[in-house]
Protein backbone atom coordinates (compact mmCIF):
# COMPACT_ATOMS: atom_id res chain seq x y z
CA UNK A 1 0.00 0.00 0.00
CA UNK A 2 1.45 3.33 -0.96
CA UNK A 3 1.87 5.21 2.27
CA UNK A 4 3.67 8.47 2.22
CA UNK A 5 6.87 7.88 4.11
CA UNK A 6 6.91 11.50 5.11
CA UNK A 7 3.97 10.93 7.41
CA UNK A 8 6.09 8.55 9.44
CA UNK A 9 8.63 11.22 10.30
CA UNK A 10 8.15 13.15 13.53
CA UNK A 11 6.69 16.62 12.96
CA UNK A 12 9.15 19.49 12.75
CA UNK A 13 9.57 21.32 16.06
CA UNK A 14 7.74 24.67 16.23
CA UNK A 15 9.95 27.59 15.27
CA UNK A 16 11.74 29.29 18.14
CA UNK A 17 10.52 32.63 19.40
CA UNK A 18 13.30 34.40 17.56
CA UNK A 19 12.36 32.82 14.27
CA UNK A 20 8.75 33.72 14.86
CA UNK A 21 9.73 37.28 15.55
CA UNK A 22 11.89 37.51 12.46
CA UNK A 23 9.20 36.05 10.24
CA UNK A 24 6.64 38.37 11.75
CA UNK A 25 8.79 41.37 11.02
CA UNK A 26 9.41 40.43 7.43
CA UNK A 27 5.80 39.73 6.62
CA UNK A 28 4.15 42.61 8.38
CA UNK A 29 4.98 45.94 6.75
CA UNK A 30 3.35 47.98 9.48
CA UNK A 31 5.37 46.32 12.19
CA UNK A 32 8.56 46.63 10.20
CA UNK A 33 7.89 50.23 9.25
CA UNK A 34 7.06 51.38 12.75
CA UNK A 35 10.03 49.54 14.21
CA UNK A 36 12.33 51.18 11.69
CA UNK A 37 10.89 54.60 12.44
CA UNK A 38 11.31 53.95 16.13
CA UNK A 39 14.89 52.81 15.69
CA UNK A 40 15.58 55.88 13.59
CA UNK A 41 14.22 58.21 16.24
CA UNK A 42 16.08 56.40 18.98
CA UNK A 43 19.29 56.51 16.96
CA UNK A 44 18.86 60.23 16.40
CA UNK A 45 18.38 60.90 20.06
CA UNK A 46 21.06 58.55 21.32
CA UNK A 47 23.44 60.12 18.85
CA UNK A 48 22.42 63.58 19.99
CA UNK A 49 25.82 64.51 21.43
CA UNK A 50 27.40 63.58 18.10
CA UNK A 51 24.72 64.94 15.81
CA UNK A 52 23.91 68.17 17.55
CA UNK A 53 26.15 70.83 16.16
CA UNK A 54 25.47 73.22 18.95
CA UNK A 55 25.33 72.85 22.67
CA UNK A 56 21.64 72.91 23.60
CA UNK A 57 22.34 75.20 26.52
CA UNK A 58 24.33 77.89 24.74
CA UNK A 59 22.45 81.15 24.68
CA UNK A 60 22.94 83.40 21.70
CA UNK A 61 20.47 86.23 22.24
CA UNK A 62 21.46 87.89 18.97
CA UNK A 63 20.19 84.88 17.07
CA UNK A 64 16.87 84.48 18.83
CA UNK A 65 13.67 83.46 17.10
CA UNK A 66 15.24 82.71 13.78
CA UNK A 67 13.72 80.29 11.37
CA UNK A 68 15.50 77.41 9.73
CA UNK A 69 18.92 78.42 8.42
CA UNK A 70 22.29 76.99 7.40
CA UNK A 71 23.61 77.34 10.88
CA UNK A 72 20.55 76.33 12.84
CA UNK A 73 18.70 73.60 11.02
CA UNK A 74 15.49 73.97 12.94
CA UNK A 75 15.93 77.57 13.92
CA UNK A 76 16.41 79.04 17.33
CA UNK A 77 14.20 79.56 20.30
CA UNK A 78 13.45 82.66 22.34
CA UNK A 79 16.84 82.63 24.01
CA UNK A 80 18.82 81.92 20.89
CA UNK A 81 19.38 78.25 21.61
CA UNK A 82 19.59 75.82 18.75
CA UNK A 83 16.22 74.12 18.46
CA UNK A 84 17.46 70.98 16.74
CA UNK A 85 19.86 70.02 19.49
CA UNK A 86 17.27 70.87 22.15
CA UNK A 87 14.71 68.65 20.47
CA UNK A 88 17.19 65.80 20.14
CA UNK A 89 18.25 66.02 23.76
CA UNK A 90 14.65 66.31 24.79
CA UNK A 91 13.86 63.19 22.82
CA UNK A 92 16.69 61.42 24.58
CA UNK A 93 15.21 62.31 27.93
CA UNK A 94 11.76 61.13 26.90
CA UNK A 95 13.00 57.80 25.63
CA UNK A 96 15.23 57.11 28.61
CA UNK A 97 12.48 57.99 31.02
CA UNK A 98 9.94 55.90 29.12
CA UNK A 99 12.24 52.89 29.14
CA UNK A 100 12.78 53.18 32.89
CA UNK A 101 9.10 53.67 33.61
CA UNK A 102 8.21 50.74 31.40
CA UNK A 103 10.69 48.48 33.13
CA UNK A 104 9.48 49.44 36.59
CA UNK A 105 5.80 49.23 35.76
CA UNK A 106 6.19 45.83 34.12
CA UNK A 107 8.24 44.35 36.95
CA UNK A 108 5.99 45.75 39.66
CA UNK A 109 2.81 44.86 37.80
CA UNK A 110 4.12 41.36 37.15
CA UNK A 111 4.93 40.78 40.80
CA UNK A 112 1.58 42.10 41.98
CA UNK A 113 -0.36 40.28 39.30
CA UNK A 114 1.36 36.98 40.00
CA UNK A 115 0.70 37.33 43.71
CA UNK A 116 -2.93 38.30 43.24
CA UNK A 117 -3.59 35.62 40.66
CA UNK A 118 -1.89 32.78 42.43
CA UNK A 119 -2.63 33.35 46.08
CA UNK A 120 -6.40 33.27 46.38
CA UNK A 121 -6.58 35.20 49.60
CA UNK A 122 -4.63 38.09 48.15
CA UNK A 123 -6.75 38.40 45.05
CA UNK A 124 -9.66 40.48 46.31
CA UNK A 125 -7.78 43.01 48.47
CA UNK A 126 -5.02 43.56 45.93
CA UNK A 127 -7.45 44.04 43.09
CA UNK A 128 -9.49 46.49 45.12
CA UNK A 129 -6.33 48.44 45.74
CA UNK A 130 -5.55 48.42 42.04
CA UNK A 131 -9.09 49.61 41.30
CA UNK A 132 -8.59 52.44 43.74
CA UNK A 133 -5.39 53.56 42.05
CA UNK A 134 -6.98 53.27 38.62
CA UNK A 135 -9.79 55.57 39.68
CA UNK A 136 -7.35 58.43 40.07
CA UNK A 137 -6.57 60.03 36.72
CA UNK A 138 -2.97 59.09 35.95
CA UNK A 139 -1.87 62.55 35.02
CA UNK A 140 -3.24 64.05 38.21
CA UNK A 141 -1.56 61.44 40.33
CA UNK A 142 1.74 62.05 38.59
CA UNK A 143 1.26 65.80 38.96
CA UNK A 144 0.58 65.54 42.66
CA UNK A 145 3.51 63.21 43.33
CA UNK A 146 5.95 65.36 41.40
CA UNK A 147 4.67 68.47 43.14
CA UNK A 148 5.46 66.91 46.47
CA UNK A 149 8.61 65.03 45.70
CA UNK A 150 10.32 67.54 43.51
CA UNK A 151 11.15 67.32 39.83
CA UNK A 152 14.08 64.95 39.95
CA UNK A 153 14.50 61.82 37.90
CA UNK A 154 13.65 59.39 40.70
CA UNK A 155 10.40 61.08 41.63
CA UNK A 156 9.40 61.53 38.01
CA UNK A 157 10.00 57.89 37.21
CA UNK A 158 8.05 56.71 40.24
CA UNK A 159 5.27 59.24 39.72
CA UNK A 160 4.76 58.20 36.10
CA UNK A 161 5.06 54.46 36.77
CA UNK A 162 2.51 54.22 39.55
CA UNK A 163 -0.59 54.94 37.44
CA UNK A 164 0.54 52.31 34.90
CA UNK A 165 1.03 49.50 37.39
CA UNK A 166 -2.64 48.55 37.98
CA UNK A 167 -3.30 47.84 34.32
CA UNK A 168 -0.27 45.59 34.07
CA UNK A 169 -1.21 43.85 37.30
CA UNK A 170 -4.73 43.18 36.06
CA UNK A 171 -3.42 41.77 32.83
CA UNK A 172 -0.97 39.45 34.57
CA UNK A 173 -3.59 38.40 37.07
CA UNK A 174 -6.07 37.40 34.38
CA UNK A 175 -3.41 35.33 32.63
CA UNK A 176 -2.41 33.68 35.89
CA UNK A 177 -6.03 32.91 36.72
CA UNK A 178 -6.56 31.09 33.47
CA UNK A 179 -3.22 29.28 33.43
CA UNK A 180 -3.57 28.20 37.03
CA UNK A 181 -6.30 25.76 36.09
CA UNK A 182 -4.31 24.07 33.38
CA UNK A 183 -3.58 20.37 33.82
CA UNK A 184 0.17 20.77 33.56
CA UNK A 185 0.18 23.18 36.48
CA UNK A 186 -1.88 20.81 38.55
CA UNK A 187 0.39 17.96 37.61
CA UNK A 188 3.46 19.94 38.51
CA UNK A 189 2.04 20.92 41.88
CA UNK A 190 0.83 17.43 42.49
CA UNK A 191 4.30 15.99 41.98
CA UNK A 192 5.64 18.26 44.67
CA UNK A 193 7.16 21.14 42.77
CA UNK A 194 7.42 24.16 45.07
CA UNK A 195 5.01 26.94 44.22
CA UNK A 196 7.68 29.45 43.28
CA UNK A 197 9.18 27.07 40.77
CA UNK A 198 5.79 26.40 39.27
CA UNK A 199 5.24 30.13 38.93
CA UNK A 200 8.57 30.63 37.30
CA UNK A 201 8.60 27.72 34.90
CA UNK A 202 4.98 27.20 34.02
CA UNK A 203 2.97 30.32 34.66
CA UNK A 204 5.38 33.11 33.93
CA UNK A 205 6.05 32.16 30.27
CA UNK A 206 2.37 32.61 29.44
CA UNK A 207 2.52 36.16 30.65
CA UNK A 208 5.39 37.18 28.41
CA UNK A 209 3.44 37.84 25.23
CA UNK A 210 0.76 40.11 26.71
CA UNK A 211 3.40 41.79 28.84
CA UNK A 212 5.55 42.68 25.86
CA UNK A 213 2.55 44.25 24.16
CA UNK A 214 1.57 46.11 27.31
CA UNK A 215 5.15 47.33 27.73
CA UNK A 216 4.94 49.20 24.44
CA UNK A 217 1.74 50.91 25.47
CA UNK A 218 3.17 51.83 28.86
CA UNK A 219 6.12 53.32 26.99
CA UNK A 220 3.86 55.45 24.84
CA UNK A 221 1.87 56.59 27.87
CA UNK A 222 5.05 57.43 29.76
CA UNK A 223 6.41 59.54 26.91
CA UNK A 224 3.13 61.39 26.76
CA UNK A 225 2.84 61.93 30.51
CA UNK A 226 6.40 63.22 30.79
CA UNK A 227 5.74 65.62 27.94
CA UNK A 228 2.53 66.87 29.50
CA UNK A 229 4.22 67.36 32.85
CA UNK A 230 6.97 69.34 31.16
CA UNK A 231 4.41 71.33 29.23
CA UNK A 232 2.50 72.26 32.36
CA UNK A 233 5.70 73.42 33.96
CA UNK A 234 5.65 70.62 36.46
CA UNK A 235 8.45 68.52 35.09
CA UNK A 236 12.19 68.93 34.97
CA UNK A 237 13.72 72.35 35.48
CA UNK A 238 13.76 74.46 32.31
CA UNK A 239 17.52 74.18 31.75
CA UNK A 240 17.10 70.50 31.02
CA UNK A 241 15.60 70.31 27.55
CA UNK A 242 12.44 68.25 27.59
CA UNK A 243 10.06 68.15 24.68
CA UNK A 244 7.13 69.35 26.76
CA UNK A 245 8.95 72.29 28.26
CA UNK A 246 10.33 73.37 24.89
CA UNK A 247 6.77 73.54 23.64
CA UNK A 248 5.69 75.47 26.71
CA UNK A 249 8.52 77.95 26.22
CA UNK A 250 7.41 78.44 22.66
CA UNK A 251 3.83 79.27 23.60
CA UNK A 252 4.14 83.06 23.94
CA UNK A 253 5.97 83.24 20.62
CA UNK A 254 3.63 81.01 18.74
CA UNK A 255 2.46 83.54 16.23
CA UNK A 256 5.93 84.88 15.51
CA UNK A 257 7.83 81.62 15.59
CA UNK A 258 5.53 78.62 15.40
CA UNK A 259 8.42 76.22 14.76
CA UNK A 260 9.42 76.33 18.42
CA UNK A 261 6.15 74.65 19.29
CA UNK A 262 5.77 72.58 16.16
CA UNK A 263 9.20 70.96 15.87
CA UNK A 264 9.22 69.26 19.28
CA UNK A 265 5.51 68.60 18.87
CA UNK A 266 5.99 66.74 15.61
CA UNK A 267 8.95 64.83 17.01
CA UNK A 268 6.89 63.83 20.01
CA UNK A 269 3.95 62.80 17.85
CA UNK A 270 6.21 60.70 15.61
CA UNK A 271 7.78 59.00 18.60
CA UNK A 272 4.45 58.13 20.20
CA UNK A 273 3.03 57.10 16.84
CA UNK A 274 5.92 54.73 16.17
CA UNK A 275 5.62 53.12 19.59
CA UNK A 276 1.84 52.79 19.32
CA UNK A 277 1.93 51.34 15.82
CA UNK A 278 4.61 48.88 16.79
CA UNK A 279 2.61 47.87 19.85
CA UNK A 280 -0.52 47.40 17.78
CA UNK A 281 1.24 45.29 15.19
CA UNK A 282 2.89 43.28 17.94
CA UNK A 283 -0.44 42.68 19.59
CA UNK A 284 -2.08 41.56 16.39
CA UNK A 285 0.74 39.10 15.93
CA UNK A 286 1.25 37.81 19.41
CA UNK A 287 -2.29 37.54 20.60
CA UNK A 288 -5.12 38.35 18.23
CA UNK A 289 -7.58 37.44 20.96
CA UNK A 290 -6.28 40.26 23.08
CA UNK A 291 -6.88 42.92 20.47
CA UNK A 292 -10.61 42.78 21.02
CA UNK A 293 -10.81 43.17 24.75
CA UNK A 294 -7.95 45.17 26.19
CA UNK A 295 -6.82 48.45 24.83
CA UNK A 296 -3.62 49.90 26.06
Amino acid sequence: MPTSSASLLPAAPPPSRWRQAASALIHDPVMLGSLLLLLLLVALTVGAPLLAFHDPATLTPRARLQGSSELYWLGTDSLGRDLLSRVLYGGRLSITLAALVSAIAIVAGLAIGLAAGYVRRLDAPVMRLMDGIMAIPGLLLAVALVALGGANIVTMVIAISIPEIPRVARLVRSVVLSVREEPYVEASLGSGTPALKVLWRHILPSTINPLVVQATFVCAAAILTEAVLGFLGLGFPPEIPSLGSIIAEGRPFFQRAPWIVLAPGVFLALLILAVNMFGDALRDRLDPRLSRKTKG
Binding site: G132, A135, P137, L140, L148, A220, P258, I272, L273, N276
Partner: protein
Amino acid sequence: MIELILKRLLAAVPVMLIVATVVFLLLRMAPGDPARVIAGDMASEESIAQIRTDMGLDQSLGTQYVRWMAALVQGDLGHSIQSRQPVTTLIKARLGPTFSLAAWAILLTIATAVPLGVLAAWRHRGLADRGIMAGAVLAFSMPVFVVAYLLILVFSVKLNWLPVQGYAPLADGLGQYARHLLLPTVTLAMVFVALITRITRASLLDVLGEDFVRTARAKGVTERFVLFRHALRNAAIPIVTIVGVALTTLISGVVVTETIFNIAGVGRLIVDSVLARDYPVVQGTILFFSFLYVFVNLLIDMAYVVLDPRIRY
Protein backbone atom coordinates in the same frame (compact mmCIF):
# COMPACT_ATOMS: atom_id res chain seq x y z
CA MET B 1 -35.11 47.95 40.30
CA ILE B 2 -34.69 50.24 43.28
CA GLU B 3 -32.96 47.55 45.26
CA LEU B 4 -30.60 47.01 42.35
CA ILE B 5 -29.63 50.66 42.37
CA LEU B 6 -29.17 50.61 46.12
CA LYS B 7 -27.07 47.48 45.94
CA ARG B 8 -24.77 49.01 43.36
CA LEU B 9 -24.51 52.23 45.33
CA LEU B 10 -23.56 50.26 48.37
CA ALA B 11 -20.93 48.38 46.41
CA ALA B 12 -19.41 51.64 45.30
CA VAL B 13 -18.86 52.89 48.83
CA PRO B 14 -15.91 50.59 49.61
CA VAL B 15 -14.29 51.61 46.34
CA MET B 16 -14.64 55.28 47.24
CA LEU B 17 -13.19 54.56 50.66
CA ILE B 18 -10.25 52.88 49.04
CA VAL B 19 -9.78 55.75 46.61
CA ALA B 20 -9.79 58.25 49.45
CA THR B 21 -7.33 56.11 51.37
CA VAL B 22 -5.08 55.69 48.36
CA VAL B 23 -5.05 59.44 47.74
CA PHE B 24 -4.30 60.06 51.38
CA LEU B 25 -1.51 57.50 51.55
CA LEU B 26 0.13 58.38 48.28
CA LEU B 27 0.20 62.06 49.02
CA ARG B 28 1.29 61.64 52.62
CA MET B 29 3.95 59.11 51.82
CA ALA B 30 5.38 60.88 48.84
CA PRO B 31 8.93 62.03 49.38
CA GLY B 32 9.12 65.58 50.48
CA ASP B 33 7.62 67.42 53.35
CA PRO B 34 4.30 69.09 52.52
CA ALA B 35 4.79 71.73 55.17
CA ARG B 36 8.12 72.73 53.70
CA VAL B 37 6.72 72.70 50.21
CA ILE B 38 3.82 74.91 51.26
CA ALA B 39 5.99 77.28 53.22
CA GLY B 40 8.21 77.86 50.25
CA ASP B 41 11.94 78.20 49.92
CA MET B 42 12.42 81.28 52.08
CA ALA B 43 10.47 80.17 55.11
CA SER B 44 11.99 79.92 58.54
CA GLU B 45 11.91 76.79 60.63
CA GLU B 46 9.27 78.30 62.94
CA SER B 47 6.84 79.02 60.14
CA ILE B 48 7.31 75.54 58.76
CA ALA B 49 6.61 74.11 62.21
CA GLN B 50 3.59 76.37 62.50
CA ILE B 51 2.20 75.17 59.20
CA ARG B 52 2.81 71.64 60.25
CA THR B 53 0.74 72.13 63.39
CA ASP B 54 -1.98 73.99 61.54
CA MET B 55 -2.43 71.25 59.04
CA GLY B 56 -2.17 68.59 61.67
CA LEU B 57 0.84 67.07 59.99
CA ASP B 58 2.67 66.60 63.26
CA GLN B 59 0.19 64.03 64.46
CA SER B 60 0.53 60.36 63.81
CA LEU B 61 -0.50 58.96 60.46
CA GLY B 62 -3.42 57.17 62.05
CA THR B 63 -4.82 60.31 63.62
CA GLN B 64 -4.41 62.27 60.43
CA TYR B 65 -6.22 59.57 58.53
CA VAL B 66 -9.16 59.57 60.89
CA ARG B 67 -9.43 63.35 60.75
CA TRP B 68 -9.20 63.28 56.99
CA MET B 69 -11.93 60.67 56.65
CA ALA B 70 -14.18 62.41 59.13
CA ALA B 71 -13.90 65.66 57.22
CA LEU B 72 -14.46 63.88 53.94
CA VAL B 73 -17.66 62.23 55.04
CA GLN B 74 -19.02 65.63 55.91
CA GLY B 75 -18.15 66.90 52.48
CA ASP B 76 -15.28 69.00 53.69
CA LEU B 77 -12.40 68.87 51.27
CA GLY B 78 -10.27 71.31 53.16
CA HIS B 79 -9.40 74.91 52.55
CA SER B 80 -7.20 76.57 50.03
CA ILE B 81 -4.01 78.00 51.43
CA GLN B 82 -3.97 80.85 48.98
CA SER B 83 -7.50 82.09 49.12
CA ARG B 84 -8.67 80.54 52.38
CA GLN B 85 -11.85 79.48 50.64
CA PRO B 86 -13.24 75.99 51.03
CA VAL B 87 -12.05 73.75 48.24
CA THR B 88 -15.60 72.75 47.43
CA THR B 89 -16.50 76.37 46.71
CA LEU B 90 -13.54 76.73 44.39
CA ILE B 91 -14.49 73.60 42.51
CA LYS B 92 -18.13 74.59 42.21
CA ALA B 93 -17.20 77.94 40.73
CA ARG B 94 -15.12 76.31 38.03
CA LEU B 95 -17.46 73.46 37.24
CA GLY B 96 -19.38 75.18 34.47
CA PRO B 97 -16.63 75.50 31.84
CA THR B 98 -15.21 72.07 32.56
CA PHE B 99 -18.57 70.44 32.33
CA SER B 100 -19.38 72.19 29.07
CA LEU B 101 -16.09 71.16 27.56
CA ALA B 102 -16.32 67.56 28.69
CA ALA B 103 -19.99 67.13 27.76
CA TRP B 104 -19.55 68.52 24.26
CA ALA B 105 -16.40 66.48 23.75
CA ILE B 106 -18.23 63.29 24.69
CA LEU B 107 -21.17 64.14 22.44
CA LEU B 108 -18.86 64.95 19.57
CA THR B 109 -16.98 61.73 20.14
CA ILE B 110 -20.08 59.58 20.06
CA ALA B 111 -21.48 61.38 17.06
CA THR B 112 -18.28 60.95 15.11
CA ALA B 113 -16.70 57.76 16.36
CA VAL B 114 -19.66 55.42 16.28
CA PRO B 115 -20.52 56.09 12.62
CA LEU B 116 -16.83 55.87 11.70
CA GLY B 117 -16.47 52.59 13.56
CA VAL B 118 -19.59 51.21 11.93
CA LEU B 119 -18.32 52.25 8.53
CA ALA B 120 -14.96 50.66 9.16
CA ALA B 121 -16.54 47.40 10.28
CA TRP B 122 -18.97 47.37 7.40
CA ARG B 123 -16.27 47.92 4.82
CA HIS B 124 -13.93 45.56 6.63
CA ARG B 125 -10.50 45.34 4.97
CA GLY B 126 -11.63 47.83 2.37
CA LEU B 127 -10.09 51.21 1.70
CA ALA B 128 -12.41 52.98 4.12
CA ASP B 129 -11.51 50.55 6.88
CA ARG B 130 -7.78 50.92 6.43
CA GLY B 131 -8.03 54.67 6.09
CA ILE B 132 -10.10 55.05 9.21
CA MET B 133 -7.85 52.79 11.23
CA ALA B 134 -4.75 54.63 10.08
CA GLY B 135 -6.39 57.90 11.02
CA ALA B 136 -7.33 56.48 14.38
CA VAL B 137 -3.79 55.46 15.27
CA LEU B 138 -2.54 58.86 14.19
CA ALA B 139 -5.15 60.72 16.21
CA PHE B 140 -4.47 58.55 19.22
CA SER B 141 -0.77 59.20 19.13
CA MET B 142 -0.86 62.95 18.78
CA PRO B 143 -0.44 64.58 22.14
CA VAL B 144 -3.24 66.93 23.06
CA PHE B 145 -1.09 70.01 22.93
CA VAL B 146 0.26 69.26 19.48
CA VAL B 147 -3.25 68.88 18.11
CA ALA B 148 -4.33 72.03 19.91
CA TYR B 149 -1.53 74.15 18.51
CA LEU B 150 -1.97 72.82 15.01
CA LEU B 151 -5.66 73.68 15.16
CA ILE B 152 -4.94 77.09 16.62
CA LEU B 153 -2.37 77.74 13.91
CA VAL B 154 -4.79 76.91 11.16
CA PHE B 155 -8.06 78.25 12.47
CA SER B 156 -7.11 81.13 14.68
CA VAL B 157 -3.88 82.48 13.37
CA LYS B 158 -4.01 81.89 9.65
CA LEU B 159 -7.72 81.88 8.94
CA ASN B 160 -8.77 84.01 11.87
CA TRP B 161 -12.10 82.29 12.15
CA LEU B 162 -12.02 81.38 15.81
CA PRO B 163 -10.69 82.98 18.98
CA VAL B 164 -7.34 81.73 20.21
CA GLN B 165 -8.35 81.16 23.77
CA GLY B 166 -10.77 81.86 26.53
CA TYR B 167 -14.19 80.76 27.49
CA ALA B 168 -17.54 82.49 27.12
CA PRO B 169 -20.38 81.21 29.26
CA LEU B 170 -23.73 80.48 27.69
CA ALA B 171 -25.07 83.66 29.19
CA ASP B 172 -22.89 85.62 26.80
CA GLY B 173 -24.80 84.33 23.85
CA LEU B 174 -24.80 81.11 21.92
CA GLY B 175 -22.51 82.35 19.18
CA GLN B 176 -19.71 83.35 21.50
CA TYR B 177 -20.15 80.21 23.57
CA ALA B 178 -19.86 78.02 20.51
CA ARG B 179 -16.96 79.88 18.96
CA HIS B 180 -14.85 79.67 22.07
CA LEU B 181 -15.68 76.06 22.73
CA LEU B 182 -15.18 74.69 19.25
CA LEU B 183 -11.41 74.26 19.14
CA PRO B 184 -11.01 72.99 22.70
CA THR B 185 -13.80 70.48 22.16
CA VAL B 186 -12.31 69.15 18.95
CA THR B 187 -8.87 68.94 20.55
CA LEU B 188 -10.15 67.05 23.55
CA ALA B 189 -12.34 64.77 21.48
CA MET B 190 -9.64 63.68 19.09
CA VAL B 191 -8.06 61.02 21.26
CA PHE B 192 -11.48 59.70 22.19
CA VAL B 193 -12.75 59.55 18.69
CA ALA B 194 -9.74 57.41 17.87
CA LEU B 195 -10.32 55.12 20.83
CA ILE B 196 -14.06 54.75 20.41
CA THR B 197 -13.79 54.22 16.66
CA ARG B 198 -11.42 51.33 17.19
CA ILE B 199 -13.53 49.75 19.89
CA THR B 200 -16.72 50.19 17.90
CA ARG B 201 -15.15 48.57 14.89
CA ALA B 202 -13.67 45.68 16.87
CA SER B 203 -16.82 45.06 18.82
CA LEU B 204 -19.01 45.25 15.75
CA LEU B 205 -16.74 42.87 13.87
CA ASP B 206 -17.08 40.43 16.73
CA VAL B 207 -20.84 40.61 16.64
CA LEU B 208 -21.06 40.44 12.86
CA GLY B 209 -19.25 37.15 13.00
CA GLU B 210 -21.84 35.60 15.25
CA ASP B 211 -24.31 32.96 14.18
CA PHE B 212 -27.45 34.97 14.67
CA VAL B 213 -26.21 37.56 12.21
CA ARG B 214 -25.57 34.86 9.67
CA THR B 215 -29.09 33.59 10.24
CA ALA B 216 -30.55 37.05 9.84
CA ARG B 217 -28.71 37.53 6.59
CA ALA B 218 -29.80 34.10 5.38
CA LYS B 219 -33.36 35.04 6.19
CA GLY B 220 -32.98 37.89 3.78
CA VAL B 221 -32.89 40.75 6.24
CA THR B 222 -31.41 43.87 4.68
CA GLU B 223 -27.82 44.67 5.58
CA ARG B 224 -28.84 47.95 7.14
CA PHE B 225 -31.33 46.24 9.42
CA VAL B 226 -28.74 43.69 10.42
CA LEU B 227 -26.29 46.42 11.27
CA PHE B 228 -28.51 48.68 13.24
CA ARG B 229 -31.04 46.45 14.79
CA HIS B 230 -28.98 43.41 15.61
CA ALA B 231 -25.29 44.15 15.54
CA LEU B 232 -25.02 47.61 17.03
CA ARG B 233 -27.09 46.86 20.07
CA ASN B 234 -24.94 43.93 20.97
CA ALA B 235 -21.79 45.85 20.31
CA ALA B 236 -22.89 48.60 22.68
CA ILE B 237 -21.56 47.04 25.85
CA PRO B 238 -17.83 47.12 25.16
CA ILE B 239 -18.22 50.65 23.83
CA VAL B 240 -19.93 51.82 26.99
CA THR B 241 -17.32 50.03 29.09
CA ILE B 242 -14.51 51.83 27.37
CA VAL B 243 -16.22 55.17 27.84
CA GLY B 244 -16.16 54.50 31.55
CA VAL B 245 -12.57 53.40 31.64
CA ALA B 246 -11.40 56.19 29.37
CA LEU B 247 -12.89 58.79 31.68
CA THR B 248 -9.57 59.23 33.43
CA THR B 249 -7.95 59.97 30.11
CA LEU B 250 -10.70 62.50 29.46
CA ILE B 251 -9.94 64.20 32.73
CA SER B 252 -6.25 64.36 31.97
CA GLY B 253 -7.11 65.77 28.58
CA VAL B 254 -9.34 68.39 30.17
CA VAL B 255 -6.47 69.55 32.34
CA VAL B 256 -4.17 70.11 29.38
CA THR B 257 -6.84 71.57 27.13
CA GLU B 258 -7.93 74.08 29.72
CA THR B 259 -4.34 75.16 30.21
CA ILE B 260 -3.71 75.66 26.51
CA PHE B 261 -6.93 77.48 25.78
CA ASN B 262 -6.87 79.39 29.02
CA ILE B 263 -10.27 78.19 30.19
CA ALA B 264 -10.99 78.76 33.86
CA GLY B 265 -12.19 75.28 34.69
CA VAL B 266 -11.39 72.68 37.32
CA GLY B 267 -8.53 71.30 35.27
CA ARG B 268 -6.77 74.62 35.25
CA LEU B 269 -7.46 74.88 38.98
CA ILE B 270 -5.33 71.81 39.57
CA VAL B 271 -2.43 73.12 37.53
CA ASP B 272 -2.57 76.54 39.14
CA SER B 273 -2.75 75.03 42.60
CA VAL B 274 0.17 72.73 42.00
CA LEU B 275 2.27 75.61 40.77
CA ALA B 276 1.18 77.66 43.77
CA ARG B 277 1.83 74.76 46.10
CA ASP B 278 -1.76 74.90 47.26
CA TYR B 279 -1.67 71.36 48.49
CA PRO B 280 -5.23 71.03 49.95
CA VAL B 281 -6.75 72.16 46.67
CA VAL B 282 -4.68 69.65 44.74
CA GLN B 283 -5.77 66.89 47.08
CA GLY B 284 -9.40 67.96 47.00
CA THR B 285 -9.63 68.16 43.23
CA ILE B 286 -7.97 64.79 42.76
CA LEU B 287 -10.53 63.29 45.09
CA PHE B 288 -13.32 65.06 43.27
CA PHE B 289 -12.28 63.61 39.93
CA SER B 290 -11.73 60.15 41.34
CA PHE B 291 -15.15 60.08 42.91
CA LEU B 292 -16.60 61.30 39.65
CA TYR B 293 -14.95 58.36 37.93
CA VAL B 294 -16.37 55.88 40.43
CA PHE B 295 -19.79 57.45 40.09
CA VAL B 296 -19.79 57.39 36.30
CA ASN B 297 -18.69 53.76 36.24
CA LEU B 298 -21.49 53.01 38.65
CA LEU B 299 -23.95 54.53 36.22
CA ILE B 300 -22.42 52.48 33.45
CA ASP B 301 -22.75 49.29 35.48
CA MET B 302 -26.39 50.05 35.89
CA ALA B 303 -26.72 50.82 32.22
CA TYR B 304 -25.55 47.27 31.53
CA VAL B 305 -28.77 45.95 32.96
CA VAL B 306 -30.68 47.97 30.41
CA LEU B 307 -28.41 47.08 27.54
CA ASP B 308 -28.02 43.38 28.17
CA PRO B 309 -31.01 41.55 29.61
CA ARG B 310 -28.81 38.59 30.35
CA ILE B 311 -27.04 40.46 33.09
CA ARG B 312 -28.55 40.13 36.54
CA TYR B 313 -26.87 41.34 39.65
